[in-house]
Symmetry: C2
Subunit: 333 residues, 2 copies
DNA sequence: GTGAAAGCGCTAACAT
DNA sequence: ATGTTAGCGCTTTCAC
């Protein structure tokens, strides 16, 4: 690969002049500029990103941690982030944290070591103290998605889990349901807790007893929805609707209900959360709460880029509104 | 951030000695080694990746191009690649090429500029000649997934599109279908052509007339499957099975058939391709051809890492076997 | 065994 | 307007 030195020799000028032409700043005579550009073209010269990064302390790389790129939900988010990066001429390194504190901190350290100019983090656990300390000490710009338990984010994009869950329950109540089961994700997850709180609020505001919603905790997996629904069915508990913690759980619920010959929504109504990839492919189409995943990923990067430019963010905490997507899995009683 | 110089001062040794300790090579007395390690721990020193990369000409970054990270299919592949990277202590930069020659070449150039040690490419178009030229001139290790039209790959991992399509048609034939419609992807795609060839072969081997399978070309989108199925239904054409070019198209097919009150598989059987995320969530469960996406992504990176270590690859062309996944969308006539 | 010194490719402060 | 020079943080000869 040709270096700046090669170009300067070829053009008969100094390295600095070449650098000035490349950067497009400083005084260069039109004449030499043409000479330099010709040499660049001839040699197929491309500036060495590494050397540039070392010298300028700017890598033009944005680091991104999500829970798991392989999952459609986060893949969409990453897709949005990537689009924004491309628009801003940045590259992106993506890591998965697998909702595990150790993995998450490792991922963040990898990104810091890679000299990322800034980070977009979707993590489920508090960032370990040493890592948070490093972020603070080098004053690394971070945009947090979901929540910021450590105060390291320049801005937080919050998903309205509270409002989403509240809206879901209200929708079920509006449709006459008074015996609802909520198959929740693990309490360790921030999102889970916010949703539970939304549920409680909806119930309270409707002036109904707390027992209106029966909560069972599990994992955000189809398997949990499937097994717990079978349990519920054999337990003899009376209920008319299941509000699943997410669409994966809902898929399991639907599977189990069908298997037992329970009609959806005729006998039991089902709601999900996320409007994940498969929600509309389920039969019946799943009524659920949509999160605009791609837009969130994109917005996070845009905010980061803005910080990187030295701009002040107009808002330091943004809550993304959710949207109730009505399909065919909820019946009116 | 502490530099190697800080550490050397702190430990009262030279930079070289510190470097030797970090690299774990060269002679260092036990005594000084302890001193250096203490200083590293005390200062929280972490080697500067950029400086290292500049000096050693090794970035430890692997570049990865797929069609679109946001799509569940490629997200899975990326997930596999990422796992392999982590295991090999590499970082990964991911780009989407959107099956567009210009975007794809841009993505590859970005990765080259980022000084990636090697590339894993899933591209749909020939790599543009200048980019291919650069790859050759710097002898950059590349593993191709899908196919290698430019001879730039050290190895190619091929998906058995031919065998998959052949198996699908054979399965339909075995179930007595003799009037089959194939809703194909665009002819511009390599995968499409291989699948068509598999179809032809299956028909020929069964000694049936070519017209047994009626091919309609479109896009790999649900919309195409939906609209074309409606067309087919109103056209009066006689057929008992639709073999969709992929699971997205199949989803559209199922939607349209249901909408028109056509029973699946009672009236019309449906097959897909990929065993994509939603295939098993469809109703009826979609009988389809599985591609082990995650394993492919992982394998590609493992091969690349192996090349990077200077090892010789045992095989330079690997065809991943496909697998027929039988669910409930095909009936026996 | 260890340190001094050169240099990877680039940018920017400083001369001219 | 242009060139000279000094590093960015690290690895790696090459002396001692």
């Amino acid at each position: 690969m040709a270096t700046i030195k090669d170009v300067s020799k070829h053009a008969g000028v100094s390295k600095s002049t070449v650098s000035r032409v490349i950067m497009g700043q400083g005084y260069v005579s039109e004449q030499k500029k043409i000479l330099v550009e010709a040499a660049i073209a001839k040699l197929g010269y491309r500036p060495n990103t590494i050397a540039r990064a070392l010298r300028s302390n700017r890598s033009n790389i944005i680091g991104n941690v999500v829970v798991d790129v392989a999952s459609p939900f986060y893949a969409q988010m990453v897709g949005g982030s990537q689009a924004a990066c491309r628009a801003a001429n940045k590259s992106m390194i993506i890591c998965s944290g697998f909702a595990d504190q150790y993995d998450e901190s490792n991922a963040i350290m990898e990104l810091i070591d890679r000299a990322c100019d800034g980070l977009v983090l979707y993590v489920e656990n508090p960032v370990s103290e040493d890592v948070a300390g490093i972020i603070r000490s080098i004053d690394l710009p971070v945009i947090m998605i979901g929540g910021d338990q450590d105060g390291i984010g320049r801005a937080v994009i919050k998903i309205d889990n509270f409002g989403g869950a509240k809206a879901a329950i209200q929708y079920l109540l509006d449709n006459g349901h008074r015996d609802i089961v909520h198959l929740s994700g693990p309490l360790a997850f921030r999102d889970t807790r916010a949703r539970l709180s939304g549920i409680d609020t909806a119930i309270a505001e409707a002036g109904l007893p707390k027992g209106t919603v029966h909560v069972v905790h599990g994992e955000f997996f189809e398997q949990f929805g499937y097994e717990e629904t079978l349990n519920l069915l054999t337990s003899g508990r009376k209920f008319t609707a299941i509000f699943a913690g997410d669409d994966d759980i809902a898929a399991g619920v639907i599977l189990a209900l069908k298997e037992r010959g329970v009609r959806i929504p005729g006998d039991i109504s089902v709601m999900g959360f996320d409007d994940n990839f498969h929600a509309r492919h389920l039969t019946p189409g799943l009524t659920t709460i949509r999160q605009p995943t791609m837009a969130i990923g994109q917005m996070a990067v845009e905010m980061l880029v803005s910080v990187l430019k030295g701009e002040t963010l107009p808002e330091t905490e943004i809550t993304i509104p959710i949207e109730l997507v009505v399909r065919d899995s909820v019946a009116t009683i």
